[in-house]
């Protein structure tokens, strides 16, 4: 394991963040000592309104911390003047929730903003800039959209374009605030997989603020979990699930994170015994649990045998009735329990 300093990307020291309004200080987090590592996808999770966006903006240098420091440690050369906005822009790129509302701008032009820290005086792009823009667009697979105007894009496409813009900025650190908000499942998965690929293949340090538990648990390498006592707990997802950190913070109401299922009260007298395997077994059991049945061994009230032959599946109840769907099966069982 390498623990030398040159693999660090962001290190915070006793960082306190929040807002200062005249003399009233509203602290959202205190004494943070966090490390953001390259080559890993870090998901920053926490309930809504806890200050995820504020931390992202503070780490990006867009907002001043109340106390403590954010240090950027880059490979090879140390940053000569890390407070200058240009040198920061060459090392940290962001995807924010701010809306872009310009009429005369297409995707290619939006992505080209990523090259601004590298341009000289004017707005003319060099051949190298154009290649990097093209590569960034290709990387997120929106080549077919490059001439589309911004306002013609769907939310998912716009988010991809914003990620391409951040890629074009060619920074070792990428910070994203809720990049999957308002997107459907496919788009959310696509974006998270893309970010993970970026971390792996380009050795970038990627931080994603999100409140989407299921997605983060399955894609993140590291989780930063914001608690209510202004601290952040870090670890790999599996550890945080098993040691109950998630349960403490999210205060789940009827959701068992360890099994990934919602808890159902068994309120029916009948017990069921299921014989079967694989997905058929799993989903039959899920359905029956949801309907309030409990499960017993050989002495259960009903025995259900799942026969599957290729694509056709049949459910046999007590060796007397056959059903072609779980719905029909449950209708039968409910009818029985009604009598």
């Amino acid at each position: 394991m390498t623990t030398t300093q040159d693999i660090l990307a962001i290190q915070t020291r006793d960082l306190s963040i929040g807002y200062q309004d005249n003399r009233v200080i509203n602290r959202l987090f205190e004494n943070l000592n966090l490390t953001l590592s390259p080559g890993a996808l870090t998901c920053f999770m926490g309930p809504n309104g806890i200050g995820k966006s504020t931390l992202i903006r503070t780490l990006a240098g867009l907002q001043k911390p109340i106390a403590g420091t954010v240090e950027y440690i880059f490979k090879g050369s140390p940053p000569e003047n890390s407070n200058s906005s240009i040198s920061l822009a060459k090392n940290v790129s962001v995807v924010l929730t701010d809306r872009i509302s310009t009429v005369n701008m297409n995707v290619y032009e939006l992505v080209s903003f990523g090259r601004y820290p590298y341009l000289g005086w004017g707005t003319r792009l060099s051949e190298e800039d154009k290649q990097i823009i093209q590569r960034s667009i290709d990387y997120v697979q929106i080549h077919h959209l490059r001439h589309s105007r911004i306002f013609e894009l769907s939310d998912g496409q716009l988010q991809m374009a914003m990620i391409a813009r951040a890629l074009a900025q060619d920074t070792p650190i990428v910070l994203l605030d809720e990049p999957t908000a308002h997107l459907d499942l496919n788009n959310r998965l696509e974006i998270m997989n893309l970010l993970r690929k970026l971390a792996r293949t380009m050795n970038k340090a990627i931080l994603v603020a999100t409140h989407e538990l299921d997605l983060a648990l399955q894609t993140a390498d590291i989780i930063w979990l914001a608690g209510f006592d202004r601290t952040i707990v870090t670890g790999i997802p599996e550890d945080l699930v098993l040691n109950g950190t998630f349960d403490n913070i999210f205060q789940f109401k009827g959701f068992d994170l360890k099994t990934g299922k919602i808890h159902h009260e068994a309120h029916r007298k009948q017990t069921i015994h299921i014989e079967g395997s694989g997905h058929n077994y799993l989903w039959t059991r899920n359905a029956l649990e949801r309907c309030g049945f409990s499960f017993g061994g050989e002495t259960a009230t009903h025995t259900i045998i799942i026969d599957s032959e290729g694509a056709t599946v049949q459910w046999r109840v007590d060796n007397s009735h056959r059903f072609n769907s779980i719905q029909a099966l449950i209708d039968h069982l409910l009818h029985q329990s009604g009598n």
């Binding site: 990006a60 906005s85 701010d98 903003f113």
Partner: protein, 339 residues
């Protein structure tokens, strides 16, 4: 044909040239076209009066149109971009309100008891308007350093406008009709009153303001993405905001000092230009708006002279008649502009 579609921008300078010549050929004295062109090429006309009319009246007025139109349009473009508001114009910062206040005090000061000894001097109105604009600029510049978001700046500008308007109306209420008339004429706007020295001074102010604007092209583009993104791609936010405000203030303040408060040009021209040249890039937009603003102003001045030989409509009436439909169009298009 292909060459024309590719080089549509060529329309602007050509139209501009034609409008300039048309503007020179119009006036209360009829001078033949050929004669005008020969006078312009440096030949002395047989009729010495024609010589003086072309050089000292028509040329100065046409040049004032060019300077005022281009300056106000660039200032309007800058304000629309900085505030990300399609309805912002050069006077949103309250500069022309400050100028109006000082000019009204100068011209209606008999009311307050003290007569300004230099009120008769031709530079008095210019000085008063400059002092008023400059004072408002200093207030805005001082505030802009303390404010984090641009919207607050917009509100401050509106408030300055409302406050000065009330002082002006008190002055008007307390003064006699004949004392009000000079001030009223000033508010109509006047493009014809400048001598060559005044034109030179105005030209220098407009040149410096425009150069700062061109220098800010790249950060103006970045402002389109909003404060946070602009910062994250390396724009020095306080410096860039100050330079843009400085440039817009020089352009607006200069024109208002010499020509009075000319309405609608700065609001309408950037939108008209963006209809023809569909880009967000200020490296292209600023030159285009310079040409468009000049052309628009020359056209308005031509229309102002159309009714008859000795009768000229106030320029603000014309700019508003052309400008108002444009503003209505903007609102109807609002879905695309502001979403």
């Amino acid at each position: 044909m292909e060459w024309i579609t590719k080089n549509r921008w060529i329309v602007l300078p050509c139209t501009l040239f034609l409008l300039f010549i048309a503007n020179l050929s119009l006036g209360s004295v009829r001078i033949p076209w050929m004669e005008i062109i020969s006078i312009l090429t440096g030949k002395v006309s047989d009729n010495p009066v024609w010589n003086d009319i072309v050089w000292d009246f028509r040329m100065t007025k046409a040049l004032t149109c060019v300077l005022a139109g281009s300056a106000l349009s660039v200032a309007g473009l800058q304000m629309q971009t900085l505030f990300r508001n399609a309805l912002a114009g050069p006077d949103v910062l309250g500069l022309s309100s400050g100028a109006s206040l000082m000019v009204s005090i100068l011209l209606m000061s008999q009311v307050s008891g003290f007569t300004t000894p230099f009120a008769a001097s031709p530079w008095a109105v210019v000085s008063a308007a400059s002092i008023g604009s400059a004072a408002v600029f200093l207030v805005i510049a001082a505030i802009s350093h303390r404010l984090h978001d641009n919207a607050s700046l917009l509100i401050v500008g509106l408030m300055i406008g409302a406050a000065t308007a009330s002082v002006v109306s008190v002055l008007q209420f307390a003064s006699k009709a004949e004392e009000q008339q000079p001030y009223l004429f000033w508010t109509f706007g006047n493009l014809g009153g400048l001598n060559w020295l005044e034109i030179k001074v105005l030209a220098i102010i407009v040149l410096i303001g425009t150069l700062i604007g061109i220098f800010s092209s790249r950060s103006l583009n970045a402002w389109l993405l909003g404060n946070n993104y602009a910062h994250s791609i390396g724009v020095n936010i306080p410096r860039s905001r100050f330079l843009i405000i400085l440039s817009a203030s020089m352009l607006t303040g200069g024109v208002t000092a010499f020509c009075g408060p000319i309405a609608f040009v700065g609001l309408a021209v950037p939108h008209l230009v963006k209809m023809i040249i569909k880009t967000h890039n200020h490296s292209v937009l600023i030159p285009a708006v310079l040409a468009g603003g000049s052309g628009f102003m020359l056209l308005c001045d031509i229309l102002a002279q159309l009714p008859g030989n000795n009768y000229v409509i106030p320029i603000n009436a014309i700019t508003a008649i052309i400008g108002a439909p444009v503003v209505i169009w903007i609102i109807l298009q609002g879905k695309r502009v502001s979403n």
